[in-house]
């Protein structure tokens, strides 16, 4: 018998045994998904005039920004030559979905998110720049870009432009996250990834995670600031979360049913993989605990009257479980797609390091970093109404 390779079952092509895309590549779509989802929630108020969610509007934008700033970091850590990443700007290969990353990212960061936040906060920024002193005031002064005009006419223009930007921002958010789905969905070599549904599934699960994140953060920050939670707001968010989750779940089930029905050459290998290596993360965590449970909980709030405190508990549990579930979904796509051999004859395992460049420790740091950035942003650009700016 030849060498028995640790973690390998059956036959893998020799170059396939080691996984190419690590937990950092699991994190990247998770982070951009949160960005896109938070932005969609913000656009609910701005474009679709859902007044009820207004208390979360600015918070959602800041959440999106905090996560967007961290988004390129897992990619840079993963690259063999991060110093060459600018080449995507020099010579983007038009046939590669990945090549659009640099441009879509910059577009979304500057033209959509920063512009929208700036336009919405501009009146406050100008006021803060001319009151008080110190380091913070200097930042506000720079942010005014030298303009003091906050007359009603100027603010009306801001509002109109902001509306257009949010309008453009919605497809931009879909592009920012959908292209990642296409990166996976267009790989014909990998049957776990290759499906036209992939960008759509990514977008809907992104919306689910982003909405859940903003809802949780709103409830958490209200509690920390000892301010009553606007129940009309969270009830509305909960409703959107519920319906978006139903669409997301339907899409995932459609993919599964389609695979089982067509039963092509890859089915046996993929089925085995899901029942063994991916059982906990896919069946237990993503489907049962992560999707069916929150849908059931949220569904309960839709069909029957429930006391306020119970509703808060339901939203908290559903929200937290959702965040874990969508992370599990990214894991199942990225890692799952590399656990089986393209010969359909074998399986390998993912050996994740801890304090290595692509290990668990940098992943944990990267997922916590946006919250640190959010804290700074919230201190700099408080998203709460002035009347509430107490603690």
């Amino acid at each position: 018998m030849g060498t028995i390779l640790p973690g390998v079952e059956g036959y893998m092509y020799p170059n396939e045994i080691e996984l190419q895309w690590s937990i950092l590549i699991v994190l990247y779509p998770y982070i951009t998904g949160l960005v896109a989802g938070a932005f969609i929630l913000a656009s609910l108020e701005r474009v679709f005039k859902v007044d009820a969610v207004k208390p979360t509007y600015r918070l959602a934008l800041l959440v999106a920004l905090a996560f967007l700033l961290v988004a390129p970091l897992p990619l840079q850590l993963h690259l063999g030559h991060p110093e060459r990443s600018f080449e995507m700007y020099l010579t983007p290969h038009r046939s590669s979905a990945m090549a659009m990353f640099g441009f879509v990212y910059l577009w979304y960061l500057m033209i959509v998110l920063l512009m929208e936040i700036w336009l919405d906060y501009r009146k406050d920024i100008v006021e803060w720049a001319h009151s008080g002193s110190g380091f913070k005031t200097w930042i506000y002064k720079i942010l005014t870009l030298g303009s003091r005009n906050i007359s009603p006419a100027a603010l009306r223009i801001d509002d109109k432009v902001g509306y257009i930007i949010t309008l453009i921002g919605i497809p931009s958010a879909f592009l920012l996250h959908g292209y990642v789905g296409f990166i996976f969905g267009s790989v014909k070599a990998n049957p776990w990834w290759s499906t036209p549904l992939m960008p759509v599934v990514f977008i809907f699960s992104a919306m689910v995670s982003g909405i859940a994140a903003v809802m949780l953060l709103y409830m958490l920050t209200s509690k920390l600031r000892r301010v009553p939670i606007d129940m009309r707001c969270v009830d509305t968010i909960g409703q959107y979360l519920f319906y978006t989750f139903i669409i997301d779940f339907s899409l995932e089930m459609l993919d599964l049913v389609h695979r089982l029905y067509e039963a092509d050459e890859s089915l046996r290998a993929l089925d085995f993989m899901v029942h063994t290596r991916l059982y906990f993360s896919q069946v237990v965590l993503q489907i049962f605990v992560g999707t069916l449970l929150p849908i059931a909980l949220l569904g309960l709030t839709q069909v029957t009257k429930i006391a306020e405190n119970t509703r808060k508990a339901i939203y908290s549990i559903a929200g937290a479980v959702t965040l874990v579930s969508i992370l599990a979904m990214r894991w199942n796509v990225v890692i799952g797609g590399q656990l089986f051999s393209k010969s359909f004859l074998g399986y390998t395992s993912y050996k994740m390091g801890f304090a290595t460049r692509e290990g668990l420790l940098p992943a944990i740091i990267l997922i916590l970093l946006p919250f640190v950035i959010l804290y700074v942003l919230v201190k700099l650009l408080p998203p709460w109404p002035k009347s509430e700016a107490a603690a």
């Binding site: 020099l90 010579t91 501009r122 870009l145 005009n149």
Partner: protein, 154 residues
């Protein structure tokens, strides 16, 4: 109109900043982009030259035969006619370039011959193969077989 520009002046500042950024990017791009990129396709043509400049390690049997024509003659008459010199003797471009710089060591026939000729179910049936332990009882292969022309009595 003048009113509009006064009230939209901050937006114009943003546009100016973006325009400056774009101009800076285009200037930097022109100076940093690799020479002749795109000449044959979406790649740097220098890469082809880089790869072509890699050192050659196997000289190729034609080069060996230029000097070692006597061995080539012997080999040409036997079953190993199509086995290249370096298939057994290893990469010897260095030796071909400067014979004194690398003197090839004679391969160990016990290991070398068995690689090809040890019996295996996966090998084509017509291919000469033996169970070496039974065939020679541990005696070195070149005791009876001359590697360049392995047929005994041939």
């Amino acid at each position: 109109m003048k009113d509009f520009f006064r009230n939209a002046e901050h937006l114009i500042r943003v546009l100016v900043l973006l325009a400056i950024g774009l101009a800076a990017f285009l200037v930097i791009r022109r100076s940093v982009i690799p020479a002749e990129f795109g000449k044959y396709g979406h790649f740097r043509p220098g890469a082809m030259d880089d790869i072509r400049a890699r050192p050659v390690k196997f000289a190729g049997h034609a080069v060996c035969e230029a000097c070692h024509s006597d061995q080539a003659d012997v080999k040409g008459k036997g079953k190993h006619v199509n086995v290249a010199c370096e298939a057994c003797h290893g990469p010897l471009a260095k030796h071909a370039e400067d014979p004194a710089s690398l003197v090839p060591t004679l391969p160990d026939t016990a290991v070398l011959c068995a690689r090809c000729h040890e019996a295996s179910q996966a090998k084509p049936k017509s291919f000469p193969q033996v169970v070496t332990a039974e065939h020679s009882g541990g005696v070195a292969c070149n005791t009876c077989h001359k590697p360049h022309n392995p047929q005994i009595g041939g």
